[in-house]
Symmetry: C2
Subunit: 523 residues, 2 copies
Amino acid sequence: MARQAGELFEEFQELTASEFFRKNKQMLGFSGKIRSLTIVFHELITNSFDAAEEAGILPVIKIDLKRVDKDHYILKHIDNGPGIPEDFVTRVFCTMFAGSKFRNIQSRGQQGLGCSGCVLLSQMTTGKPAKIISGYKENGKLKGVQMTLKMDVKTNKGLILDKKEVEVTETGVCVELQFKDVSYSLSEQGAFEYIRRTMIANPHAQITFRDPTGHKYIFNRAAEIIPPLPKEVLPHPRGVTADDLIFMAKHTDKRRFRSLLTSSLSRMSTKRVNEIEEMTGIDLNKRPKDMKWDEAEKIVELFAKMDFMAPPTSGLIPIGAEQIEKGLIEILKPEFVTATTRKPVTYKGGVAFIIEAAIAYGGQAGRVVGEQRKAEIMRFANRVPLTFDQGSCAITESLKSIDWKRYGIKDLENAPVTVFVNIVSTNVPYLSTGKQSVAPEPEILHEVRQSSMKVARKLQKYLRAKKAAKEEEMRSKIFETYVPIILREAANLAGTSVPEYEEVLAKVTRRAKAELLGDTLDE
Amino acid sequence: MARQAGELFEEFQELTASEFFRKNKQMLGFSGKIRSLTIVFHELITNSFDAAEEAGILPVIKIDLKRVDKDHYILKHIDNGPGIPEDFVTRVFCTMFAGSKFRNIQSRGQQGLGCSGCVLLSQMTTGKPAKIISGYKENGKLKGVQMTLKMDVKTNKGLILDKKEVEVTETGVCVELQFKDVSYSLSEQGAFEYIRRTMIANPHAQITFRDPTGHKYIFNRAAEIIPPLPKEVLPHPRGVTADDLIFMAKHTDKRRFRSLLTSSLSRMSTKRVNEIEEMTGIDLNKRPKDMKWDEAEKIVELFAKMDFMAPPTSGLIPIGAEQIEKGLIEILKPEFVTATTRKPVTYKGGVAFIIEAAIAYGGQAGRVVGEQRKAEIMRFANRVPLTFDQGSCAITESLKSIDWKRYGIKDLENAPVTVFVNIVSTNVPYLSTGKQSVAPEPEILHEVRQSSMKVARKLQKYLRAKKAAKEEEMRSKIFETYVPIILREAANLAGTSVPEYEEVLAKVTRRAKAELLGDTLDE
């Protein structure tokens, strides 16, 4: 009766990453028609932004979404980035887990799943190949190549169906993909809202979007500054684990462990290394490969006790309060807006991050539900809108912990406000593959809270001033209505003629002014 | 200023699955100390259960969790399954995306990430190798092998540090792993609760667990029946996409498309294939590799219109209402319990699933919060407890949509009830890599609602009967207290002697009985 192990393992097999995700596409965020299309927009836009900025180019993107049939669309996405060299095109679009973003650098994408994920979804739903045109410079010369590609999921590699040189007028990538079983929607989780939010956090970009009805939206640049390029920073000693040290030691070309430490970690001087050697008693002149786990662990434990300067913040480029305000004004035309950028701090002791928060009130702030404007929370990570999994996100959790009543907002849910929060980090701790929610690290919760309370206080001040101005206006109105009557009655009683209202007002004003200046009246 | 594409691609690289998950361990569910340990328990227990049941063995698991230091644990997990043949040990424990469960079969695990994920976490947090002993039968002979393994993340393969033959007395696998940065907790999301819930849904299993304090918990078997082995079922025509057909066509050894169809899909007879040929005009005698996407799409469109029998349900093995009740009684000792198993239905038109629901009231049902018992929702997928991401799960969503007041539960949150829901399917549509929440397919939402309302109605009946019994008891008490007095007073008034209470009662009862039977009284 009982089956033997051998039989049970007859069907044992190994999947490639593409095969795995073909069976589990929801792990790439592809679940539901609306969400699937939004994720496609997300992946293509973030890749274009990252590429353009890395090359020092102000991003310009043109997106054209045509509806062929019910839920069958053709998406054309064109950017003005540096392009992709011919040799890398198939790998970027047809190999999962391949990418150039696995460094310790702040970038929108991090996982090498973006473009290839879109190609996989397109192929799975339509069987159509991807059409790619890449314009790029090689030795200063502009080159253009056009390819028609399929992904071979069994090997996780690209199959070139067609390839030819083409003439291009500038660098950039044009991607044409077809999708079925997706849906374009104007809802909060739809592709249009995704673009709108993207533009708030990226006021230096320009996106032209032709929607399936043929309507052309032009989101203009609100700021002409290319964000400074984030620098790749070495990991901070407080941010590495024993496993990281062993991993580095295994794959380094350094010949001694001490030089590995100084060259692979930030804030790590020779003096520091000597201290470590002395305090741990470990011979750091040994070859990296001879480093034992226990020794690595000892060193990491010491890291936790040593005083280090905070991680270099050259690796973190916030949007900046002024730019965020520009973005919010351009898109929401609010009555009031204020933004703040916190100082860099760290979570897990060594991963630097910055929180930016803003609040917009009135105008088109908030979202329209029925006939009312309700509050809207816009979450961003490295300028990328997070549109799903709001409930499990540290940003939402932190905002919910604030007592908004204290800031003059009786009921956050029903106020016409947009709360904006952006987390900037080389390592945003995402909770899921979909990169849609942030893990509740205590320091992140704290920073979101502090920054949001700061902008909330400013909004409160504005709302108070507005209320005071309204009351002042009311009082003025009363003054203007009743004073002439009082003057007339007073004159009647005194038997004098009624003085001119304007004259009285001028006299009162002069007296007030004199009092303010401390002068005596020279009547 | 602008950088050329070539420079930007200098750092382009490809990661293995292990490298990828080393950088993104939260995608395996490893985030937070408590959750990480629970996920480890989950992966090892589900693997043991699947293996034992596939081999036709009643699962017996022994778990020993020792605390070495603050957050440093040694976990020993021993099962009585069929074991793993020597050649497969490294791949099971050290290769991600490798497994034997990629078939269309109902099993707890599906993704080939479980055991290897645990080894990865162990290695990342302690640098310690995994110790594995496998006892298995080869040609009827019992063999034993002991290995010490590390995972080489750069290649996604295992490194054998040590290997020797050992004597074993029975088949099964013993895994010893060390972890740091994890935490054992008695909370709802902790490892202990995970075992408890597992036992409710698997009353045929036995788990002995020694916790870090040395206390030994024995969860006994509540039912002696090995669940029938789910059969691998061919995909239902309604459940396949054009991409599936093309994929099958590409990797088949059949020589004609018609034989591929009949051999790869369920409910697909030669007669059916002839109908398809006729209605689509596609020559199905062609070689599978010559099948075009448009043709596959046409066939899938036709599938949607044809009448098929529902998918064979031999592939789905529910726990069964009686077994669920046994499990709940064993663990919760409730005052009232009822369970129901729905008929198999499909989502997405062709993926069969069954929903089972139960409700337990009183006893240890519900969870203790402060000094009160509150409601507790226990979600399961193929008998596996889902302990995280409750908010985003279709089961929670569906339960929240029920108007519990109608069923005599004024406030679900604060009632001492445990609501149990299990989804049984070859393809549970999980929302995330962590396999912790179910996608909101409309049919799933519907079935959860229907089944839960059914058990809620039974609970309502019980609560009503209980209330009625209480009132009845009250009435009886009144009767017993006052009737003798009335009798005495009546006798006094009439001047007769006081009749015996028992005698009067007997008379009343006889009269009532006679009335019920329509007899006349024969006094």
